[in-house]
Symmetry: C2
Subunit: 208 residues, 2 copies
Amino acid sequence: MNEKTNSARGRPKTLDRDRVLQTALIQYWSKGPANVSISDICNLIGASKPGVYREFGSDDGLKKAVLEVYHGLAIQPVIDILEKNQPTTDAIDALIGFMTQDRTALGIPQGCLFVMMRAQSERLGPSTYHKLNKVHHDLLAAYSEWIERAKLHGEFINIPTDIAALLLDMQHGGAMRMQREGVPRETIESVLRFALRAVMFRDNVIRS
Amino acid sequence: MNEKTNSARGRPKTLDRDRVLQTALIQYWSKGPANVSISDICNLIGASKPGVYREFGSDDGLKKAVLEVYHGLAIQPVIDILEKNQPTTDAIDALIGFMTQDRTALGIPQGCLFVMMRAQSERLGPSTYHKLNKVHHDLLAAYSEWIERAKLHGEFINIPTDIAALLLDMQHGGAMRMQREGVPRETIESVLRFALRAVMFRDNVIRS
DNA sequence: TCATTATCGTACCTAAGAGTATTTTATCAT
DNA sequence: ATGATAAAATACTCTTAGGTACGATAATGA
């Protein structure tokens, strides 16, 4: 019942959990999760390996915790755009805008940690893998709900919801990969404008 | 000038180069190039490590050679479809057909080694990386030429060629990733039908 | 027959990375 | 003070993976 959050028994902890998370996040994000070791992170912040293991349990535990941070930073904003009640074209503009932010200006790495992790899921531990699938599932669900709501207004009428959700997910992944490969911002934006048009046309019927 | 290809001096070679390549190809393709070691491949075919290194020089050399084999197997067929002179819709059907073959029925791994390598290019050696970029460049060039030809027939009129090429490349990558993640064949086909429609519409103008 | 040549394959080297045993040290409670 | 508690950090272990040193071996050619 005291002010301090720590229970204050034993040697006080000096390891800065948030600093570990932030450092790991930036490293994983910019170099790829498979190309950064726990030792790398420790060296970067001057922490000891047992300290990190005490805090996160394992490599898997750290990656899972980082994925949770990343979710709040770059996945939830997408979901928020989808859940906000706004005209479909505005939502699409917002999605494209979010995906094609000028990352260098913002000091944020190129690409998407979530997308990278999916591309290397074989190299992830079980708890990170599980979390990853949950995030993916939630994202697809958010797309689906957004599409269903738009359909009530007569949009996306000729495309099945699950197909449209996968299509949006695919464009998101593709855009993030292009960004990582160094394709210019404006080019990606242009590709996305055309790509997302695919779900919007009224005469969008599958040919027999 | 003799019939035999080998110069026949010294102890005859027993290492089967093609078998190494085939085994490495299947392993890289099914498990991801970063998840298969040279030792794994040696154990699978009963070869010795020095033998493999004598033949390919290094891990990088083997991966590069495998990528060349893969190119002939799964990239060149795409380029062939694009270079064949046929109606645009037929070409698109052929592309979708090739991408959504029933892999299990054909005994071929899911996904695309080229796409996987691109997603993990940080972990590749310089010569594989170089080859990878060359393949990518050639593929984009083939898309571009195909699009330019179609434009002569009044198609793709409102989309810049380079944007359309990147868009097609993006859909290819997305489809291969979905396949690897276990999305059903028919679902991927449906997503692709809608996605590739994006480049085809006549009223496909970027809104201002 | 015997030197020459080139491959074979065992047994090694080295680096890196995940994870831990152990001793020290800083704080709290009595 | 002093014992209990829990975190600190050094210095390990273990495993994997790329790569190689080197003696053995199987052929050719004189």
